[in-house]
């Protein structure tokens, strides 16, 4: 038992962090929210070069193999830097097509997986486990959807709706060409939903960490009553609770990456969702009115924390799954 990241995984996180810091992701996120996908696409290319979209794709389709722990490492960084776009959906689609191939339905994987893994095809995904909307269908080159036990390539999408996170653009998909159907599709869909939920949980943890970092920096320099507000106990204790929430969600996330058990993933999703949302509430309060403005970058993480809490299985559904229990007496 060595429940710690290895050096390579740490290095992977560090290099993504450095790349995303240099890439000015907040600017790309703002452009994405305004419907200008160009900076986001450039960013997408760099993520692909770092193999982020190849982490749920077998080597025979030019992926890295199925590496859920590395995927979690990457998505914590994507959350910390508020990366825009259907990143979760693309990786989960990779898991879906890979699994389908493993279950004997290899044609869709052969046709689509390489482009997905290389970052050439931004992909969105709608599954029965994931709610009515697909993310960023207007930006995606590939739109996959499972309904009624059938995997289809969507022919298009309905009007784009605004999310309360302006960076997330939501739309219902229109079913199109049939790619596969039957029991393997249902199994692959459940498997992909676990990946999506796990990736969302990782992104949420990253969002929470970014909110805490920014808030700690802010309360150290913002002065009221002649002293930094970070010296007041009410402020300190609130931030201590945020740290506790995030630090106890983190091991659930990595534990779930190791088991990929639906109940474990649900526990991680519930805990990271609550912890990130708690971080957002504290961040907004402790920034005062400046935190309530769209122009301050903090808003990018604030609104995302709420949206991710509900995305790919909300808190109630996660808790139901925890108790539905594959792992009765561990």
């Amino acid at each position: 038992m060595r429940f710690l990241l290895d050096d390579e995984q740490r290095e992977f996180a560090r290099s993504l962090d450095a790349m995303l810091t240099a890439a000015d992701t907040p600017a790309a996120a703002r452009a994405w929210a305004a419907g200008d996908h160009a900076p986001g696409r450039a960013l997408w290319g760099r993520l692909a070069d770092a193999d982020v979209f190849a982490l749920a794709v077998p080597e025979e389709y030019e992926g890295m193999g199925l590496l859920p722990v590395d995927m979690v490492v990457a998505f914590v960084e994507l959350g910390r830097h508020a990366v825009p776009g259907p990143v979760v959906e693309t990786v989960a689609a990779g898991a879906l097509l890979s699994r389908l191939a493993e279950l004997g339905e290899a044609a869709p994987a052969k046709r689509l997986l390489t482009a997905l893994a290389s970052g050439e095809a931004i992909t969105t995904l709608g599954l029965p486990e994931g709610g009515p909307f697909a993310l960023d269908a207007d930006a995606a080159a590939l739109r996959l959807t499972v309904t009624g036990g059938e995997l289809r390539l969507a022919s298009g999408h309905a009007r784009v709706e605004r999310s309360l996170d302006p960076v997330r653009r939501l739309a219902r998909l229109r079913p199109g060409e049939l790619l596969a159907s039957g029991a393997p599709v249902a199994a692959a869909s459940r498997y992909a939903a676990d990946w999506a939920s796990l990736a969302t949980a990782a992104q949420a943890l990253g969002v929470g960490l970014a909110l805490l970092d920014r808030t700690v920096a802010y309360v150290k320099q913002r002065t009221q009553f002649g002293t930094p507000i970070g010296g007041f106990q009410a402020v300190k204790h609130r931030l201590a609770d945020v740290l506790i929430g995030l630090e106890f969600a983190r091991p659930l996330l990595f534990g779930a990456a190791l088991t990929l058990d639906t109940a474990d993933v649900a526990a991680a999703k519930a805990a990271t969702g609550e912890a990130a949302y708690g971080a957002a509430r504290a961040a907004l309060q402790l920034h005062g009115a400046i935190g309530y403005t769209a122009e301050y970058d903090l808003s990018l993480w604030l609104t995302k924390a709420r949206a991710l809490r509900g995305a790919w299985r909300g808190p109630g559904e996660c808790r139901r799954l925890v108790l539905s229990g594959d792992r009765e007496a561990d």
């Binding site: 007041f232 931030l239 190791l258 108790l323």
Partner: protein, 388 residues
Amino acid sequence: MDLDFTAGEEEFRQRARDWLAGHVPAEPLPSLETREGFAAHRAWEGELAADRWSVVSWPEEYGGQGVDIVKWLMFEEEYFAAGGPGRVSQNGINLLAPTLFDFGTDEQRARVLPPMASGEVIWVQAWSEPESGSDLASLRSTARRTSGGWLISGQKTWSSRAAFADRAFGLFRSEPYESGGTGNAKPHRGLTYLMFPLDADGVTVRPIGRLDGKPAFAELFLDDVFVPDEDVIGEPGQGWRIAMSTTGNERGLTLRSPGRFVASADRLVRQWRAHGDPADTALRDRVADAAIGARAYQLFTWANASRFAAGETIGAESSLNKVFWSEYDIALHETALDLLGAEGELADGGEWAEGYVFSLAGPIYAGTNEIQRDIIAERLLGLPKGRR
């Protein structure tokens, strides 16, 4: 990164499981906060010790099996899963023993540790005083030099299990401190850490009833109690540093092992499946949170154990543990009582009721959660130090 245990670890787990299956009392022992229960728990410590299960992580020469932190965690998991009784020796094992390993003499270790391991001598912690709780360094009980030792005087309070226990370890002021004065300006200086028997001349023990009336702790009145030099731990005057090195242990890895919460959460989930109302999603969510919290604490501890094994030290992070488990424990028990419904009010209604009363003290002892949050904010988040 993995969650796999080695064959040797699994073999150890199986050995512990087998032993516990053959020995854990079929009926729960009476509450250890009663005279009868205390005696029964003392006997149980002896039974554990006879086969070297009372202090598995200690070196063999003192009665342990010399196992590492991972095996210790496994043992604890098995212990609580098997329904093992509460540990009446816990303050000695978790607080005094680590201090003696680090700061004691060979003679002290040889004299103190084996009877601690067997439950023959049960220890209490005599730190708190009526005027010194969170501000422990303000304590006023004194130690005065005399030939061959020290004379201690003053009043200690809230000493857990002192009503029935044998010996105490505590902090005493051996050099005067005048607050606001010009001399010794730091209250933490000039404290001496020492051990004394509760039945010595000059010691009066007055039991105090906790919320449910059971004498779970006591006041100690000390009037020129003689303590020989060999019962001083470390250098006289260095007591604060020595004592603080053990609070890390108390809050950190050893005071509350995840095994206890994992076992309780499993039990709660089983009860929910058997008796819960599926339509009551509010209660269902709390049961789920209990399961999630136990797993989070277990994995968090494994991560710390892995860091430990890799040679890192666990410092102020232990304050994260303390706040987490103490608040978790209350939520767990509140949920269980709510699931029991009207039966939950029964004081003798099984382990949940007694556990509930015990859990309520968690945010107060071992350093209050307010003090822990200060530590987290200042040492882990780097926020400015405030007045204490």
